[in-house]
C-alpha cells in the first residue's frame, strides 16, 4: 500500500464530496468509474459486492466509500477515503448551516428548484448503473424490478427484501 494510493484516494473522494448532490448514493457511478475503470482498485464484480455490503450495513450510505478505501489500501485507505468524502462537504455544510437563516427569498428557492432535478438525475443514474452491474441473468433483473416496485408502492423495511434476495442467491435461484 503505497502513499500514492492514499493520496489518490484522498484526491478522488475529496473532489467527489463536493459534487455528490443528493447524497453519497448520487456518486455511485463516479465511484465505479474511478475505482474500477480509472484506478483498477477493484473489479466490477467486487464493486457490486461492496455496494451490496454497504446497503445492508447499518449507518449512513457514505460507508460504501469506506469499503472502497479498504479494498484499495487496507485500513488506512478506508480511513482516508471516508475522511476525504466527508471533509469538504462537511466544511461547506457547516458554513451554509451558519448562514442558512439568511438564505431565503425567491432566488434561494429557485436555486433549490434548480438542484432538485440534478440530484434526481444522479440517483437515477446510480440505480441504473448498479442495476446493470447486478443484472447477470433474468432472475436478478426480476428481483431488481420487484424491489423497485415494492419500495415505490409500500413502506416495507428493505432489510426484509434484502434477506429474501440473499436467500434466493444462496439457494442458487439467481
Amino acid at each position: 500500500m503505497s502513499d500514492s494510493t492514499l493520496a489518490r484516494l484522498a484526491g478522488h473522494f475529496a473532489l467527489m464530496s463536493l459534487f455528490a448532490i443528493g447524497g453519497a448514493n448520487s456518486a455511485l457511478p463516479e465511484m465505479q468509474r474511478v475505482a474500477v475503470e480509472l484506478e483498477h482498485w477493484m473489479t466490477a464484480r467486487q464493486f457490486t459486492d461492496v455496494f451490496a455490503l454497504a446497503q445492508v450495513t447499518p449507518g449512513p450510505n457514505v460507508i460504501v466509500v469506506t469499503l472502497i478505501g479498504y479494498q484499495a489500501a487496507g485500513l488506512m485507505g478506508a480511513l482516508v477515503a471516508t475522511l476525504a468524502m466527508c471533509g469538504p462537504s462537511c466544511l461547506f455544510a457547516f458554513y451554509v448551516g451558519r448562514i442558512s437563516d439568511r438564505l431565503q427569498g425567491a432566488r434561494w428557492s429557485a436555486t433549490q428548484q434548480g438542484l432538485l432535478p440534478i440530484s434526481i438525475g444522479l440517483i437515477a443514474a446510480s440505480g441504473f448503473v448498479v442495476a446493470t452491474a447486478a443484472a447477470h441473468n433474468v432472475a436478478a433483473v426480476l428481483v431488481t424490478l420487484a424491489t423497485a416496485l415494492l419500495c415505490f408502492t409500500t413502506r416495507l423495511n428493505p432489510l426484509w427484501i434484502f434477506a429474501m434476495a440473499a436467500l434466493m442467491g444462496l439457494a442458487d435461484l439467481l
Binding site: 447524497g23 440534478i118 440517483i123 436478478a140
Partner: protein
C-alpha cells in the same frame, strides 16, 4: 433545535453536496455547540459504522471469493439496485408537476451524462448545475 429548524436543516441537506445525513449531523452539532459540536456529532455518526464496516471490509477481503457468499451478495446487489431505483421514482414524482417539462428534462440530461455516457461527475455537473439553476432563476 425546534421541529421547524430540524425540518429546514433536513431540507437544506437534500441539496448540499456530500453525504446527506453526515451534513445534517454537522449542521445540527454546529447549532448546539459550534465547530466542536459539529466534530463530535460527525464522529458519533461515522465512528461506530466505520469500525463495523472496516471489520466487514476485512472479512470480505479474506472470504469474498467463497461461492455461497458471492451468490448472496449478488442477490442483495440486485435488490439494493431496485431500492435505489424505487426511492428515486418516489423522489421524481414532484418533478412532473412542471408543466413545461424542463425539470424532468434536466433530470434526464443528468441521467444520460452520468449513467449512460459515463462522463466524469465534476465536468458534467460544472455544466449541468449552472444550467439548471439558470433555468430555475429565469422561470421564477
Amino acid at each position: 433545535m425546534t421541529g421547524d429548524e430540524f425540518n429546514a436543516s433536513y431540507a437544506l441537506c437534500q441539496f448540499l453536496p456530500g453525504p446527506n445525513v453526515v451534513n445534517l449531523s454537522v449542521i445540527f452539532g454546529g447549532r448546539i455547540r459550534g465547530p466542536l459540536g459539529s466534530v463530535v456529532a460527525l464522529i458519533g455518526l461515522i465512528g461506530p459504522p466505520f469500525i463495523i464496516v472496516s471489520a466487514i471490509g476485512f472479512i470480505y477481503a479474506r472470504f469474498g471469493e467463497i461461492a455461497a457468499l458471492q451468490r448472496m451478495l449478488m442477490g442483495i446487489a440486485a435488490a439494493a439496485a431496485g431500492l435505489v431505483l424505487g426511492t428515486c421514482a418516489k423522489m421524481a414524482l414532484p418533478l412532473f408537476r412542471d408543466r413545461l417539462g424542463l425539470a424532468p428534462a434536466m433530470a434526464l440530461l443528468t441521467f444520460a451524462a452520468i449513467g449512460v455516457m459515463r462522463w466524469p461527475l465534476h465536468w458534467s455537473l460544472a455544466v449541468l448545475v449552472p444550467l439548471s439553476i439558470a433555468v430555475a432563476w429565469v422561470r421564477r
